[in-house]
C-alpha cells in the first residue's frame, strides 16, 4: 500500500477568495432572476449573496461540490423552502419581472408555473394515469374526462413515456422502473404546463441508459420550457446545458457559457473543480 500524501492543491481552495460572481450571470429579458439572495437554515447561512438570471428557453446547469447549496438555491425559485419552518430566504426574486416572494404572490400558483422534478423519483402510490392527471385535476385544467385524457396522453408523449405505458395507464406508477418513474414525474410536472422546470439531480438515481433518455428529453423540452438543472455530473452539464453556474460553499463563483466553463474557466475554483482536484 502506498502512503497517502496530503494534496497541497486540495487544500488551497480555502485560500482562494470569492469576490462576487465572475462571468456572465446576467442576461437581457430574463425568465427568472435573483438579486442579493441569502438563505439561512436557522442561524446557519447556506447561500451568500447570489445574483443570477435565467434566460427564456435555456437550460442552465448548476454544479458544485455537495453541500454547496445548489438544491437550496433551486428551491428558492419555486418557494419550496417555505415548507421548511427554519428556512429564511432574503433578496429579490422574480419570474417574468414579478416578485415571487411578494405579498401578492400565491406560492401555490407559483409552483404551478415553476414545476419541479426531484432527485429520487417520487411517483404517488396511484395509477400512472392518476399521477399525471394529479396536477391538472388540482388546478382544474381539464373540464371533462376526455380533456383530461388528452392532457395525460400529451404529457406522457412529451416525457417520452407514452409508448411504454399506454396499455398500463391504470397500473400503479410505483411499479415502473426507476428511469420510467423519473420520466413519469417529468410527465406529471409537464401536465400542469409550467413555464420553468427545476430539476434537482434528476438522474443521480438512474442507470446510464435511463440517464441518456432523460437528457434527450431535456433537449426536446427546452423548445417550450426554461429548465434549471442541478447535477453532480459535469459530463451531463456539458451535454445538456447552454450555461453553467458553479457554486462553492454557498457562493455563486462563476456563470458562463457551458463550453467556456469546461474548456476555459475564468475562476481558479471552477478550474479546480472541473479538473477534479476536489469535489
Amino acid at each position: 500500500m502506498t502512503e497517502l500524501k496530503p494534496d497541497i492543491e486540495k487544500r488551497s481552495e480555502f485560500d482562494i477568495e470569492i469576490n462576487g460572481t465572475v462571468g456572465k450571470p446576467f442576461v437581457d429579458n430574463p425568465k427568472m432572476s435573483s438579486r442579493n439572495c441569502d438563505v439561512f437554515y436557522g442561524d446557519k447561512q447556506a447561500i451568500f449573496d447570489v445574483n443570477l438570471d435565467i434566460a427564456n428557453n435555456e437550460i442552465i446547469a448548476m454544479i458544485g461540490p455537495s453541500g454547496c447549496g445548489k438544491s437550496t438555491y433551486l428551491r428558492v425559485l419555486n418557494r419550496m423552502n417555505d415548507t421548511i419552518p427554519i428556512c429564511k430566504v432574503t433578496g429579490e426574486h422574480t419570474l417574468d419581472g414579478e416578485d415571487i416572494y411578494g405579498k401578492k404572490q400565491d406560492p401555490v400558483l407559483l409552483r404551478a408555473r415553476v414545476g419541479m422534478v426531484f432527485q429520487k423519483p417520487n411517483p404517488f402510490p396511484k395509477s400512472i394515469y392518476d399521477n399525471v392527471a394529479y396536477g391538472a385535476r388540482l388546478h382544474g385544467l381539464a373540464s371533462n374526462r376526455s380533456e383530461l385524457d388528452d392532457v395525460v396522453e400529451s404529457s406522457l408523449i412529451k416525457a417520452g413515456l407514452f409508448k411504454e405505458v399506454k396499455d398500463d395507464l391504470n397500473k400503479p406508477g410505483t411499479g415502473l422502473s426507476g428511469g420510467q418513474q423519473q420520466r413519469l414525474c417529468i410527465a406529471r410536472a409537464i401536465a400542469v404546463d409550467p413555464e420553468v422546470i427545476l430539476m434537482d439531480e434528476p438522474t443521480s438515481a438512474l442507470d446510464p441508459i435511463a440517464t441518456a433518455l432523460i437528457e434527450e428529453l431535456m433537449d426536446e423540452l427546452k423548445e417550450n420550457y426554461t429548465i434549471a438543472i442541478v447535477t453532480h455530473s459535469m459530463q451531463q452539464a456539458a451535454r445538456v446545458s447552454q450555461r453553467t453556474a458553479y457554486f462553492h460553499l454557498g457562493k455563486l463563483v462563476e456563470v458562463n457559457e457551458t463550453d467556456k466553463v469546461f474548456t476555459n474557466p475564468e475562476h481558479q475554483l471552477t478550474e479546480n473543480y472541473i479538473t477534479g482536484r476536489f469535489g
Binding site: P85, R111, N122, P125, L138, H139, C185, R188
Partner: protein
Amino acid sequence: MSKTTKKIEANLKKRYAKEKRFRAYGVVSLLISFAFLAVLLVTIFSKGLPAFQQTYIKLDIELNEKILGINKDSDEDALFSASYSKVVKNSLKEMFPGIKGRKQKRALKNLVSKSAAYDLRDKVLEKPTLLGTTQSYWFLAKDDVDVFMKGNIDRTLPESDRRIKDYQLAWIDKLMDEGRLEKRFNTVLFTEGDSREPEQAGMRGAIVGSLLTMLVTILLSFPIGVATAAYLEEFAPQNNRWVDLIEININNLAAVPSIVFGLLGLAVYINIFGVPRSTPLLGGLVLTLMTLPTIIIASRAAIKSVPPSIKEAAIGLGASRMQVLFQHTLPLAMPGILTGTIIGMAQALGETAPLLMIGMVAFVSDIPTGIFDPSTVMPVQIYLWSDSPERAFTERTSAAIMILLGFLVLMNVIAIVLRKKFEKKW
C-alpha cells in the same frame, strides 16, 4: 490462510455461540408467555363452555281456562294477566302427587324457571286456540337443576351439605328417566338482558350497551384524535413552548390510570353538564378521554412515517397544505391510524374502572335502545356476575369473558383487514 483470517475464524465461533444463546433466550421467553396464555384460555374455556348449554325441562301443560282464570270471550288483556304460573305448578303437581309441606312444595315449583309462565303466556297470546288443550312444552329449568345436570353437585355428599336434597334428587331422577330433562344450546345468553335468576340472565343488554358505548367513543375520538395528530405533525409551529407543553401532556395522559378519567367524568360530565348517568353516551364520553391519547400518539407516528418525498411531490405541483394532508398524508397514514384506533377501542371495550365511577354498574335488565338508555357494558357485566353468589353465575362469568374475548378477536381481525386494504407500497 492469513493471520487475519485465522483471527476472524476464531472469533466467529464465539459470535455464533452468542447468537445461539440469544435465540434460545427468545424461544424460552416466548414459550413462557404462551404457557401463561394457554393456562388462562384453558381455565376460562373449561369453566365457560358449559354455560353455552342450558338444561330444559319438558312439562305437559293443561291449558285449563278455569285454572287460568279466564273464559271463552276474554279479551287480550285478560289473556295477558291470566295465572300461567298456576298451570305450570299444577302440571308439576300432577307429575309428583302427594307432596306435603311448604318447603317441599316450594322446591317442586322451583324445578322450573319463572320464565316458564312468560313463555306460556306468549304461546297462548300467539295462538289462543290452544286454550282448553293439553300441550307438551320445554321450559328453562331452574339454575339448581342446571348446575346438578352439569355435574357440579356431588350426590354422594351428605344431604345437609348439598344444595339439592334427597327428595329433589328423586324428582330429577324420575324426570330423567322419562326423558324430560335435556341440555340444549343456551340462546338465553344472547337474547336476554341481565337477571337476578341465573338461568334467565343473558349478555344481550351488556353487548348492546358496549356497542353503543363504542359507537359514541369512536365517533368522538377518531375525528378529534386524527385532527389533533395532523395538526401537531403538519401545522403546529415547531419549537414552540405551547406546542411542546401540549405534546408532553398528551403523552402523560396516555399513562393516567383509567379510574381517574371516571372521576373526571363524574365531576365534569355529570355534575357540570348534567349528562344522564349510567348511559352509553356518558360511558362513551369518558372512554373518549381515555382513548384519545392512544389514537393521537399512533396517528402521529403514522403521519410521521409518510415519506416526505410524496408530500414534496404534491407541494411541488402546487397542492395546498390541506390538499397534501387529505390527498396524500392521511390516506398513506391510514393503516397506522386505524391500527392505533382499534387498539384504543379494544382497550376501551375491556375497560371497567372508569365506568364503575359513572354508574354503569347498576343492575339493568332492559336492553338499551339508544345512547340515552341506562345500560351496562360487557366487562362490567362480568364483574357483576363474578360477584354473584349463585353457583350458576360462575360459569356464566367465564362465558361472558369468552364473549368479550370474541369481540376483541373480531376487532383485531377488522384491524388486520383494514390495514391490508389501505396498505399501499411506495
